[in-house]
């Protein structure tokens, strides 16, 4: 027996390739959407990996520092450092804001890193160009996705920074590229008031008789100094000494310091389960819509192709073709359409969508396999209407009136 579907496709290949390509673009978008979700999850993992922390110590009862605001006294780290099983502790601040370079500005996550070296938690672990920050002020390491280059001068709030190093794939969980600056500068950027505000607050303090007492001349200055300094950070990153369990150390910090502590797996849970959950839902919704649209297209195309063959189908039935053979012909054509569409979609997603999309798109082979199975399933199901129409064809029609 010959393949009726195959012969028909060869005969009308233009139609098949054309609709296959159209379907393929749709499948390409679908695969890319899945890739965007995978990319977001992967970004979150990379963010956690690159911070090289085993524990995140944050403000009590917050989901900080990525999912919720959190602030700790900057000297908290000293008391943690002395605890059993703690190898290193480093303060860190995170703040997402616009970073200006001349007239242009870029949305970036400013990471304030404590003095140290590349292995200090919070520091970018590897650079693609330049060097790490060596001065305690006004130097920056920027992710390549910001578009900044070595030697560029950036403006963050009122201060200027020189880009001395570049990283790759250092992004926040929202996909914003990171810019690393010294901790002190970052604290200032986060809490800095403008000159008018400073002046005004000084006047208010001076006007308050409780602070401005003739009997204690040093008090006013002390109060003003404390108001204008900023002793907070967003989190302290802890590395565990080998041989200790992260969970045990976390538990003792929780108990003794009355702070909230997350382990790596808890942090991942927060990022993936809470922070990107909304995006995941949106993407899921799009996937459903795209699947329905694809199904509708396949159903419509296969139905139209079948209606165009009603006479041939009547003849085939008259000369004794079994219904099964005719149904198989239609299903095979639907599957062929799905295969063409999938191949085109995979190519589109890999070669065109992923490289140009402004977010990291991670195309996992397993997603492709799943996608393929779903496409084929959709094609088979959507050929049902066409098969119904074909089976209803009366062989008597071939004889005519």
């Amino acid at each position: 027996m010959i393949s009726l579907a195959g012969r028909d496709i060869m005969h009308a290949w233009g139609k098949f390739v054309f609709t296959g390509v159209g379907l393929g673009l749709l499948i390409g978008v679908t695969l890319s959407m899945a890739g965007i979700y995978r990319g977001m999850v992967d970004d979150a993992k990379v963010l956690l990996d690159n911070s090289r922390a085993d524990l995140w110590v944050v403000q009590k009862d917050t989901l900080g520092p990525y999912a919720e605001p959190s602030s700790l006294y900057e000297d908290t780290w000293r008391s943690i450092r002395g605890m059993q099983g703690v190898a290193t502790v480093a303060n860190v601040t995170y703040l997402t804001m616009q970073v200006r370079k001349e007239a242009r500005d870029v949305r970036a996550m400013i990471v304030g890193i404590a003095p140290g070296k590349a292995t200090t938690p919070g520091w970018p672990p590897y650079l693609v160009a330049g060097r790490q920050i060596t001065r305690s002020h006004y130097e920056a390491v920027a992710d390549i996705a910001t578009g900044f280059n070595l030697g560029d001068h950036l403006t963050i709030r009122r201060n200027h920074y020189k880009v001395v190093g570049l990283t790759r794939r250092m992004v926040s969980s929202g996909g914003d590229p990171m810019v690393f600056i010294p901790l002190k500068d970052a604290q200032e950027a986060q809490f800095l008031k403008d000159n008018d505000a400073i002046w005004q607050s000084r006047r208010r303090t001076e006007a308050n008789p409780a602070f401005n007492r003739p009997g204690s001349p040093g008090l006013l200055d002390a109060v003003i100094t404390s108001q204008s300094s900023n002793p907070y950070v967003n989190a302290a990153l802890v590395r565990i000494e080998t041989g200790y369990s992260a969970e045990d150390v976390a538990e003792s910090i929780r108990r003794w310091k009355r702070l909230t502590v997350y382990t790596r797996s808890q942090m991942e849970q927060i990022l993936v389960g809470k922070l990107i959950a909304t995006s995941a839902k949106q993407i899921g919704m799009f996937l459903v819509i795209l699947s329905i649209v694809s199904a509708a297209i396949v159903a419509f195309i296969i139905y139209t192709l079948t209606l165009g063959k009603i006479r041939e189908i009547a003849v085939l039935k008259l000369i004794g073709t079994r219904n099964r053979t005719i149904a198989a012909m239609i299903v095979q054509q639907a599957i062929a359409l799905g295969v063409i569409g999938f191949v085109v979609g995979k190519i589109t997603a890999t070669l065109f969508m992923a490289p140009i999309f402004p977010k990291y798109v991670l195309l996992e082979p397993l997603d492709s396999v799943r996608g393929f199975a779903i496409v084929i399933l959709i094609c088979v199901l959507s050929s049902a209407i066409a098969i119904r129409a074909a089976l209803k064809v009366d062989p008597a029609e071939a004889i005519g009136g």
Binding site: I2, M10, H11, E312, L316, P395, G400
Partner: protein, 236 residues
């Protein structure tokens, strides 16, 4: 082989029921011997297509008997279980329009029938080629139907009707779209094939040109057949 050809006795067909019932066939009696070509003629609405559909096992008669070869295929009800296989193996169809499958080449259009019956591709194609040769279109064996002339298409359609060597062929206005020369050629082919393959052939026609070629003619009027001797004129 098909010692009896086809025999139809008191065949009746009613469409619908009650007030709207139409008696398309009231009393049809026919006999076509193997190797014989008979004409079936009648005015519009007389029941010709209905009769072909009953013979072709695509609609159910209401009453009567049909005997194909030695087998009673219908006697107040179908006596064969698989009507599809009956159509495929025992009845050849030739239509007014050739109705070839546009996506199969000439050979496979003909070879499809034996293939459907489970004959291996190579063998089926050999059978097809044999018939295409008999019908003198073997030189177009690899062409697609759309590349053939009307007459060539009709010959391929006849080859398809004959390829399973059915004991009976039903031809519905096979010459209608053809000029008289081509029409004569088709009739000659049908006669040749009838003789060669011992096939009983019924040709439904309006075509004045070919009516004189039949030795026997069945007239059908208001669903009733009358047998008549034809001129049996030589064609050429």
């Amino acid at each position: 082989m098909n010692s009896k050809g086809i025999r139809i006795e008191n065949l009746k067909k009613r469409y619908g029921s009650g007030d709207t019932a139409v008696y398309a066939l009231k009393d049809v009696n026919m006999h076509v011997a193997p190797g014989e070509v008979v004409g079936l003629i009648g005015p519009s609405g007389s029941g010709k297509s209905t009769l072909l559909k009953c013979l072709g096992a695509v609609i159910d008669p209401t009453a009567g008997r049909m005997i194909l070869g030695n087998e009673i295929i219908y006697d107040q009800g179908w006596k064969v279980r698989d009507l599809r296989a009956l159509r495929r193996d025992k009845i050849g169809f030739v239509f007014q329009a050739p109705y070839l499958i546009p996506f199969l080449d000439v050979t496979d259009n003909v070879a499809l029938l034996p293939m459907l019956a489970g004959v291996p591709n190579g063998e089926a194609r050999a059978k097809a080629l044999e018939l295409l040769t008999a019908l003198d279109v073997q030189h177009r064996a690899g062409a697609m139907p759309s590349q053939l002339s009307g007459g060539e298409q009709q010959r391929v359609a006849i080859a398809r009707g004959l390829v399973n060597r059915p004991p009976v062929i039903l031809a519905d206005e096979p010459t209608a779209p053809l000029d008289s020369e081509r029409a004569m050629a088709v009739i000659r082919i049908l006669n040749d094939m009838a003789r060669k393959f011992e096939t009983a052939i019924i040709v439904v026609t309006h075509d004045e040109k070919i009516i004189p070629t039949f030795k026997r003619i069945y007239h059908i009027r208001d669903g009733v057949t009358h047998e008549e001797a034809g001129e049996g004129r030589k064609f050429e």
